[in-house]
């Protein structure tokens, strides 16, 4: 049997231009750069291999999951597979028609009605007009927007918008489907419906799917094979269970030193600044991620050009957000500390969270520092903290599926008799 997708020695190189004053490169910069004779160029270039010598085959009917850290090359691989960008070396042979879904609702126009957008989006996704007409009712029913068919989509709620967009996409019928993180949208009910629909497509029609996701639950449920990318190369390829376990373990053991805040955008007076953060566990060993139900210490470093101490009253805090920008909770000295002495500026400040109440997923952290009622430093979205599943409830079970990256776990118990 011919493989559906055959990737041979695939590499992709990006040339990153660094311009001294930052921002866009204009025609003038290129021209002046061309006429510059000395070696000090205003535009410096750096090469970066997003993918390096990737080889794999996907058989017809296989559902391949692609996982890896941010920047491991997952998106680049998808972009090459969907022909949006060409590879630098190597080649891919694909047998069968391809549909790619890097985003739901590509090309949706806010001024057009739901009905009009179904046709437009369908055409952009490569469906024929006849095909769209045939499936029109099914698409509308799946999205559940019958009443709003002739309303411009700019008046839709975001939920309706996403449902309609996904519904069009779910009715594509290519032999090979390439999907990026699109399931990270919509409400949980609809996400389940989408997973169900995708499951149905693959099991019944034997379609080949390449699926990239951070949602390990979805990968586990859908895929029958997973490859793990790291720094542009395939480091593991095999059974979902084994690869996901290996990946989660690598998250746990990856040691990282203090994460610096120096390059980040921040607000505040800046007399005293937070300079970085380190995460440690209950044994004070450095960790790169949190674990549900385990202790997490957030160790903050700070510095000042002007003073030697931070005088009371101060307020130091760290706030946790999900990746959709929803605030989850916030830890602050204001409410949780009774210490009223000044702080010397040669140590660290540690926030201890005895049982991290977050389910598996990525979270965004914001840090703030306030002295005498005035903001000294406020670093919004300073970093992303990955959290992995742990035994929060001491029952040997983990947070229910569908809540990844979006739930605060609350200690509780049940009296049932």
């Amino acid at each position: 049997m011919k493989p559906a997708i055959e990737v041979k020695k695939l590499s992709k190189k990006y040339t990153i231009s660094h311009q001294k004053n930052g921002g866009y490169i204009t025609l003038r910069d290129s021209i002046t750069n061309f006429f510059r004779f000395n070696r000090k160029k205003a535009i410096t270039k750096e090469q970066f291999w997003a993918l390096k010598d990737i080889n794999f085959k996907v058989n017809p009917g296989e559902v391949l999951g692609v996982i890896g850290h941010n920047g491991a090359g997952k998106s680049t691989l998808l972009k090459i597979l969907s022909q949006i960008t060409p590879p630098s070396h190597g080649e891919i042979t694909i047998h069968g028609s391809v549909g790619s879904l890097l985003e739901v609702g590509t090309g949706f126009h806010p001024e057009l009605t739901g009905r009009e957008n179904i046709f437009l989006n369908g055409a952009i996704l490569g469906m024929k007009k006849k095909e769209i007409i045939k499936k029109f009712d099914e698409i509308v029913a799946f999205a559940g927007i019958e009443k709003f068919l002739d309303t411009p989509v700019k008046r839709y709620s975001s939920g309706m918008y996403v449902r309609l967009a996904f519904s069009v996409a779910a009715h594509m019928e290519p032999d090979i489907l390439i999907i990026d993180e699109v399931l990270a949208v919509g409400d949980i009910e609809f996400q389940k419906k989408c997973l169900g629909k995708m499951d149905e497509i693959t099991k019944k029609d034997g379609r080949t799917i390449v699926f990239v996701s951070h949602n390990m639950g979805a990968v586990m449920q859908l895929c029958n094979r997973v490859i793990l990318l790291e720094k542009g190369t395939v480091v593991m390829d095999g059974e979902p269970q084994a690869v996901i376990q290996y990946y989660v373990k690598s998250l746990q053991t990856a040691k990282s030193d203090s994460i610096s805040f120096d390059a980040l955008d921040r607000k505040g007076k800046g007399n005293i600044q937070l300079s970085g953060v380190t995460f440690t566990d209950e044994k004070n060993a450095i960790v790169a991620n949190g674990t549900s139900g385990q202790q997490l210490n957030v160790v903050l470093n700070y510095s000042s050009k002007k003073t030697k101490a931070m005088p009371y009253p101060y307020r130091i805090g760290v706030a946790f957000y999900d990746m959709y920008g929803q605030a989850l909770f916030n830890c602050s000295t204001e409410v949780a500390s009774t210490d009223k002495s000044d702080i010397d500026l040669d140590g660290t400040i540690t926030c201890v969270i005895p049982q991290l109440p977050l389910s598996q997923g990525d979270y965004s952290l914001t840090f703030f520092l306030e002295v005498d009622g005035e903001i000294e430093d406020w670093v919004q979205g300073a970093l992303t903290l990955p959290v992995i599943n742990g035994d929060f409830f001491k029952t040997g079970k983990v947070s229910p599926e569908g809540w990844e990256g979006r739930a605060v776990l609350v200690p509780h118990y049940w009296i049932l008799h």
Binding site: I25, I92, L120, L125
Partner: protein, 274 residues
């Protein structure tokens, strides 16, 4: 499963299968044009009538200032109809040129997320302009009735050729500008200025004869041949100058080939640099 093999390799330049591919994507081309037309006059009061008002008002203003007050010669035909023929073709050309040049930028979200032959976008923006052209001809027909002009047969037959030249000239130049625009947004600022300058070297408001012995230089601008021939064909201002049409055609072909070459050369990297 029907056999359909795709090979993805490092950049290739033009091949004839690209033309077949555009044919395969003709429905998408149609949908893009359809979208632009639908969206254009949404939330406007008079809607599609704008397509008539614009050239009509321009014609009136030009007739008053250039025809009545400045007394610009018009090859012996009434100035309103003289300038309207020029304007009709000019607006088709300048509208297409500016839309094609910006087509990739305005559809950036789609270009970076999905594959389709990129040529579909600029071509569809010209198709959209074609519709405005057709609507604009309604006024021309009215004017011809009013002033009592009947075009002769050969005149009507040559019109499609003139349209094709305008189409190709705007696509050719537009493709070139579009591919620069992807990387250098300077084009967006230069373009309105550039189009305005072009208007003055094209005989829209004045007859082509005004340049005297230097008119052959102006002939390199394909729009000169188009507008002069359109006037000759519809209004009988001059005899049809086949030599001029030939020069226009040649210049247009050169422009189109150059435009496609530049576009194809940069096409595959649009998503990376846009």
């Amino acid at each position: 499963m029907h056999e359909h093999t795709t090979t993805i390799r490092p950049k290739k330049l033009f091949s004839f299968s690209d033309l077949k591919e555009i044919w395969d994507y003709r429905e998408l081309l149609y949908f893009f044009s359809w979208r632009d037309l639908k969206v254009r006059y949404k939330q406007t009061f008079v809607g599609v009538l704008w397509a008539i008002f614009q050239p009509f008002i321009t014609m009136v203003v030009f007739s008053v200032f250039f025809g009545q007050l400045a007394k610009i010669p018009s090859d012996g035909v009434p100035y309103p109809i003289f300038v309207y023929v020029g304007l009709l073709f000019w607006q088709f050309f300048s509208g297409s040129l500016s839309d094609t040049s910006n087509s990739l930028i305005t559809n950036q979200a789609i270009v970076t997320k999905i594959y389709f032959p990129r040529l579909v976008l600029p071509i569809s923006s010209v198709v959209t302009q074609c519709v405005d052209f057709i609507i604009g001809t309604v006024i021309l027909i009215g004017l011809m009735f009013y002033y009592g002009y009947t075009p002769h047969l050969i005149g009507l037959l040559i019109l499609p050729l003139l349209l094709i030249i305008t189409f190709l000239a705007s696509v050719g130049l537009g493709l070139f500008l579009a591919s620069i625009n992807v990387k250098y947004r300077d084009v967006r600022y230069v373009l309105p200025f550039f189009i305005q300058m072009l208007l003055f070297v094209t005989p829209v408001i004045y007859p082509a004869g005004i340049a005297g012995k230097y008119s052959w230089v102006l002939a390199l601008n394909p729009m000169m041949g188009v507008i002069q021939s359109a006037r000759a064909a519809l209004l009988g201002t001059t005899v049809l100058n086949w030599e001029l049409i030939g020069i226009s055609l040649a210049a247009t072909f050169a422009l189109t080939i150059f435009g496609i070459y530049m576009f194809k050369k940069t096409e595959r990297y649009f998503a990376d640099i846009i």
